[in-house]
Amino acid sequence: MNILVFIKQVPDTNEVRIDPKTGTLIRDGVPSIINPDDKNAIEEALRIKEEHGAKVTVVTMGPPQAEKALREALAMGVDEAVLLTDRAFAGADTWATSLVLAKAAEKLGYDLIFAGRQAIDGDTAQVGPEIAEHLNLPQVTYVEKVEVLDGKVRVRRAMEDGYETLLVKTPCLLTCIKELNNPRYMNIYDIFTCYAKEIKKMGIDDLGLDKEEVGLVGSPTKVKKSFTKGPKAQGEKFDVPPHEAATIVCEKLKGMHLI
């Protein structure tokens, strides 16, 4: 069984700053980590490998520095790592990102694909589902339990007020949440071999894509403006009975031409 795990390298903070001029993320000076949900994806793939036997390959699209995330995955015990890197991929939105990832999946071959639910920087939770659509695969999001059966998987999908249990034919794509498992640590054995392993690099030509389909050019999303919410001014406090408070609120709202 071939398992692909899509992982994204993200800055180690929930407070990503955005360049107000270009509308892109500022990454300088922030240490990079594997996106937390993606670590759950890696753990699940490794667990399945240990139980049923499988080859686990991690794939990321990113700049050359994203290699560090792949080495970390190798140090956790995955078998192979693929870096999708090309100047033409830069500035991709979720559509262009998922197209590149889907093409890579086609080239690499798969029986099961894992992605994280959501990246802590871009935060859209779109990439996983979009890969499945590009590949015309069944998909289950918010996966909190996986059981591998013959030619299918039984998965539990977390809902706000419960869960669904679904039986899905493989190949399929699952997006993982942190409730799925406890990601393992890197280990000394794999840490000391991970840099000796070759990381397969693929660019636009290897994937058979056109410049128009990828990167900023291939991204239908146009970011008009992005900004950080300014701090709210301190409110006014009135310590008065409710009926007086109601009058004050109405006056204020009128004054602001809101009512």
Partner: protein, 379 residues
Amino acid sequence: MDFSLTREQQLAKEMLEKFVENEVRPIAAEIDETEEFPIETVKKMARLGMMGIPFEREIGGAGGDFITYIMAVEELAKACATTSVVLSAHTSLCCWPIYAYGTDEQKAKYLPKLLKGEHLGAFALTEPNAGTDAASQQTTAKLEGDYYTLNGSKVFITNGGYADIFIVFAMTDRSKGTKGISAFIVEKGFEGFSLGKIEDKMGIRASSTAELIFKDCKVPKENLLGKEGIGFKIAMSTLDGGRIGIAAQALGIAEGALNEAVKYMKERKQFGKPIATFQGLQFYIADMATRVEAAKNLVYKAAWKKQTGQNYSLDAAMAKLYASETAMYVTTKAVQIFGGYGFTKDYPVERMMRDAKITEIYEGTSEVQKMVISANILK
């Protein structure tokens, strides 16, 4: 000259820091209180290859290097000195002498399980009347047919209550003095071998410090380590390397206490401002940080020398002497910076101060380190 870590060592450091934060720090105060040996933590460490870091994979090791092992002891000690000495005694004092002096059969029999952490190791040299004067061993070993018969007792043996494999020293020929001492690989279950008193200690309280009793204990003659008569040499060369481990433990304790002190100084307010703004305390921090840095350089220099096959005996003694004194200095100052709160069990610095003391005593007291250092210099 290059002080940077390799890429592998850097990844190992990231892993160790996470492991310590999630698995070690949360239980450090509790096991100090209960004296409960952290056996579950040892099992977790084993799964990550931490019980055999500096040994080749072919013999069951994790394929890492000595510097990474030293870093592991240091990182563990930042949060829990007990857990760090479990690793240090196991790796430096039990696995290493088997690796360095064992026959191929002994290595094949004992190393894979030890290095994978399925077995825990210990080192038994000290006796009630043979401490600093380790050569005056009273335990005897007499060859009778296919077995050596051991009689005597050992005290203060780290990991004693939980170890599976012990390196035990005994006199095979008293007439030859130090050249009459031999080393043996003793398994927990050998007939005539039992545990005595478990010490109730000031620090590293959850490490199991045990008395070992040998009463006509039968050790197969193939378990003699090296040759008859080289036991003292094995003990001394083992302790040379072990000292770097204890130095790393001391360094970690000092770093842990320094971190706590820095954090507290920024939070605690007196006279309307953080105590970090008082120059009297700022100067403590300057002294603490400088000594920690000096200790770190000594520890890693000694580790680097060992890893690169150079003679490290003098460096190890200096590193242990200075790092253990630094641990005492820094932890004592840390308690001072915490004031009355530092004296209570609500904060970890009193534990760190208690833990620091042992690093000036075991694997050769500070006085012994000075003998080793001066003998090297005055020779």
